[in-house]
Amino acid sequence: MVEEYPKLAETLKNELKEALLGYEHIAEKKAFVALVDRGSLIKALELLNKISGGEVHLTSINGADLGEREMELTYFIWLLPQKIRVLVKTRLPKDDLKIQSAVKVMPAAILYEREVHEMLGVVFEGHPRLERLFLPEDWPEGVYPLRRD
């Protein structure tokens, strides 16, 4: 429901303080987009988990290499009690693509992170089995197909 968005904005702001680089509620897309600093992504996910009392659904983790020096990770999250769509975004510089794995907070992330790793080369620390998912066995190491370069 629409009145949930300002409440969410408030809790995000005072919890994450400076780590929350930017947030906006896009009415046209009926979604709440929050740009979060790399280090505190897990904190943001845990916060969302707490707000919704564990009733949270991780739709997907999308990696995108937009061509500049940065890569963008988007976490699509659906909060069941509040019935709102939250997009948590972070930016990773291309030289060190490391981020903490969200599997402990949301077990559903296990396959999505493997795919982003396989396609874009982002390393998720703490992921139980960061292996190949789709690519054939004889695909050479170090070649990440979805990169622009």
Binding site: G54, T59, S60, L80, P107, A108, V143, P145
Partner: protein, 387 residues
Amino acid sequence: MSAIDLIIGPVHPALHEPERFVFKIDGEVVVDVEPRIGFVHRGIEKALSERTFVQDIYLAERICGICNVVHTLTAVQAIENAFGIEVPRRARYLRTIVHELNRMHSHLLILGVACELMGFDTLFMLFWRDREVVMDLVEIITGNRVMSAYNIIGGVRRNISDFEISEIKKALGSMAERLKHYKKVFMEDPTVRARCVNVGYLSRARTLALGAVGPTARGSGVEIDVRAEEPYAAFDEVPYTAVVYNEGDSWARLMVRIDETLESIKIIEQCLDRMPSGPVKVPVPEAAPRTAEGFSVTEAPRGELLHHVYAKEGEDKPIRYRVRTPTYANIPAVCEMLKGGYIADIPVTLVSIDPCFSCTDRVALVDVNSGEKRVVDIFTLMRRYRK
């Protein structure tokens, strides 16, 4: 006793598609499951970013042959979201009608295959005989039994005439009581119950944690249904409440599908009655009018489907096109369900989540002749590597 590896697939009668599961078996009980997917891996997302938006619709449609209408619907909505185009109301109603017809044919299909995997061939033949009625309706409206090619960016390709409306109403009338009969059969028939009840059980908490979607989640009491919560197309004017069962086993998941088919008939009838007249298409710019990111979430027959598009101003090709299909979200859930079950129950549990592996393996790969010099090197490197 050390567990033995039982490898099922990639070419296996029980699975209609090439995927491979390695089961660790202790006696009769499945101890662990390791899915090895990727056999239907065609590299679609990279191809999606190599083609123009109009061609992308036809490529997105072929991600999965059964739920193709929902893939075009989501692709078209994602691109309209990125372009910021408003679609006329009549087009939204027509999209919902074809979308629900596709859901009916997909549910009837998997209910039939589920009966076949249970060894109940008469019911399989009955389900698929009634499914032909829905296929004819789709052919009358869109011109092809399966690949409807109906949704385009900015609306719908063809308008619907009164002859077609009367045809739909007549056919749906007979479908409704056939389905009520099948529901009674699924409720009472001893064979069906013996084979499905508390097979592949998954509790509500685990289902939600593992991120399962669609009938797989709704069979375990998780009430997520994009049509009810995030209405798209004409679902804001045609209210819909999610069908939820709490038993959490294969039987519950199949019952969710039967009830949803009945719901689909009601939705189509409501759409036909309330459909406004008016234009069906809106002119659309060839290239992206603004640099924007568009996404669209819809309820595919197998669950929540997400298309995510990054478009750059002035370019007629998307920069990045990401598709997250329902079966892909259900794989962790199905692995958890298979553990603890018997080998004989593997096909029934697998079919209860309605796996569509051609959906799952659509991820991107390097494109061969897109003209970029560097890409060719990687491919030639590959060829040398393979010799």
